[in-house]
Symmetry: C2
Subunit: 343 residues, 2 copies
């Protein structure tokens, strides 16, 4: 069923998943298309972004953002077209970046909505390299990672939209960049297209030995996207004063309970102590503001124009395909930034 | 056997311990008293400091400092008397702060030796509240913990020389200070003498519940001295943007292998991510320099004079008592700063 001007398809959280979300987790509903009152606009979703953080919002746990309620529309950033507007600053035909979630239609009062203008060149990029994932990579790497030429940077989820950007910025700054990704195809992409110095398949039995071989001078920055074996493989390689921006632990998002032992806590904490490591978690819009955003936009537009940063987008057709595509993102079956073409 | 001018008793590392050091770990030897050449001085140990970090130096592991070699004198800070000097700036009768280790006599070229003058008021305090432990507490709390009035600070090993100082500085800065210590006597001392708001026995079955009750507004700073159950009890209480200076993980120093599971890694890393926690390991003389040291000395001398900081020292008699006393420090059987009166 395609997008229609008569009904609003929306995907709501039906029940909280245990482990990997399945067909009982999300439910598609139909509702009337809402109407815009004075001071509001009606927007129609064109592209929906899928991101690992969405798994966390399905849990009823203390976190940086409120969980999605049962029966509520799943949260998510979209690029939408303004269909009608009773709001200054937004006109029919404008494209906007909004957080209206997994649905065809929404009404907005314009708060926290960015107007991309009537004809943005690549509107969906506002969900990726020129949006939240790109800003996350840029601000987190400069603000916490503090890369210096000659240092070694290890990046988990190396071909994901954040990891790929982190690694390419690392190369621009003169670092040795070692990616970790799932499978030979992604690893080849990281080295051949993104320009990483090496990329290791995280499924390798001898992951730790391969990491050690790829990082002969140790590791100065570990960009944490995934947790698990990659983290545990990097810990023994950290140099004094290493930095670890903690951007995600995607390998652990579907955990139902803590994994079997041994307890790696002493290894984590002991390494932080002995190596004087700085580890810092961050949520992009909580930790960084307009100043960092301006620097990101300026750098990234320049690098894209110069071809120094490459961007891979995987387009998924249809809102109904979003739940399965999110599971692909969570388990690494995607390639690059996943965007759903909704309408 | 007491200190003698004829022989140099010295305690050397006989073999690397597995788990808690025992009677085979250290060995007392006798050697001739060394002689000072031109540009050197002969010093006689009066006080030897015992500190948790010494356990780490017994291991042959990658760390911030080289391990003590088998057959080498155990490392340690001392206050010593200059007996004879062929070195400018040091005269017979001066007291010095040196790193000459677990022995009666040593020759020094004066490098990294601090002259305390001929008549310091309380010479042994240079090993504690006015020395490395005090500086560790002050620089780590201000430099990483960044306390603000009204915040909640949790301190492990609350009556140890670092923890007691951290907590008292926290009170001076207007924090709610909750200590964790071993046993009711130490907890009473933390509250009644040191002025903490609460102190919890880490052996309590319901440690987590007691921590939660003592921290109704969550935890903004966790001073990590111990690891283990205290860390795992604090993690769920951390507030957004919490800071964790990692000063030690004394509860884990005697581990021979990683403990049984579950693996708490996902809990540690997930909390850092969701709560945007900054965790930073530090080694006092690697992370902080003369500027922080000057500020520490100025603050601490003022606070001691005003009675706003209290200091507890436990004096142990005789070099031969040092090995057992170090085990007491490592297992929390000490009370306050442990200093060995050598001669």
């Amino acid at each position: 069923m395609a997008q229609s001007s008569k009904t609003n398809r929306r995907i709501v959280l039906a029940e909280r998943p245990r482990g990997e979300p399945d067909e009982t987790t999300l439910r598609m509903e139909e509702a009337p298309v809402p109407e815009a009152s004075a001071g509001e606009m009606l927007i129609r979703t064109e592209f929906l972004s899928l991101d690992p953080y969405m798994r966390g919002r399905m849990n009823d746990a203390k976190s940086y953002a409120d969980p999605v309620g049962i029966g509520e529309v799943m949260t998510g950033q979209v690029v939408a077209e303004v269909v009608s507007s009773k709001l200054d600053g937004f006109a029919a035909g404008d494209r906007v970046l909004a957080s209206s979630g997994w649905q065809d239609w929404a009404v907005s009062d314009g708060r926290e909505v960015l107007n991309l203008g009537p004809a943005p060149e690549r509107p969906s990029w506002a969900l990726g390299i020129l949006g939240m994932p790109g800003f996350t990579a840029h601000a987190g790497l400069y603000g916490i990672g503090a890369p210096r030429a000659g240092e070694t940077l290890v990046v988990g989820a190396a071909t994901g939209p954040v990891g790929a950007t982190v690694g390419q910025i690392g190369k621009i700054e003169g670092c040795r960049v070692v990616g970790v990704a799932g499978g030979p195809e992604k690893c080849a992409h990281a080295v051949e297209t993104l320009g990483f110095d090496a990329c290791i398949d995280h499924r390798a039995e001898d992951l730790q030995a391969q990491l050690a071989a790829a990082c002969p001078d140790g590791v100065d920055i570990y960009w944490e996207n995934v947790g698990g074996r990659v983290l545990y493989g990097v810990l023994p390689l950290l140099n004094p004063f290493a930095r670890i921006p903690v951007c995600g632990v995607a390998g652990w998002y579907n955990l139902e309970r803590l994994p079997d032992g041994p307890d790696q806590g002493p290894q984590i904490m002991g390494t932080i102590l002995r190596m004087k490591v700085k580890m810092q978690g961050f949520i992009i819009f909580d930790n960084f503001g307009p100043e960092e955003y301006a620097r990101f936009r300026s750098d990234m537009e320049k690098w894209l124009a110069e071809g120094r940063v490459r961007y891979t987008e995987q387009m998924v057709e249809g809102l109904e395909a979003a739940p399965a595509a999110l599971n692909d993102v969570l388990t690494g079956r995607n390639f690059g930034k996943v965007v759903v073409k909704v309408g």
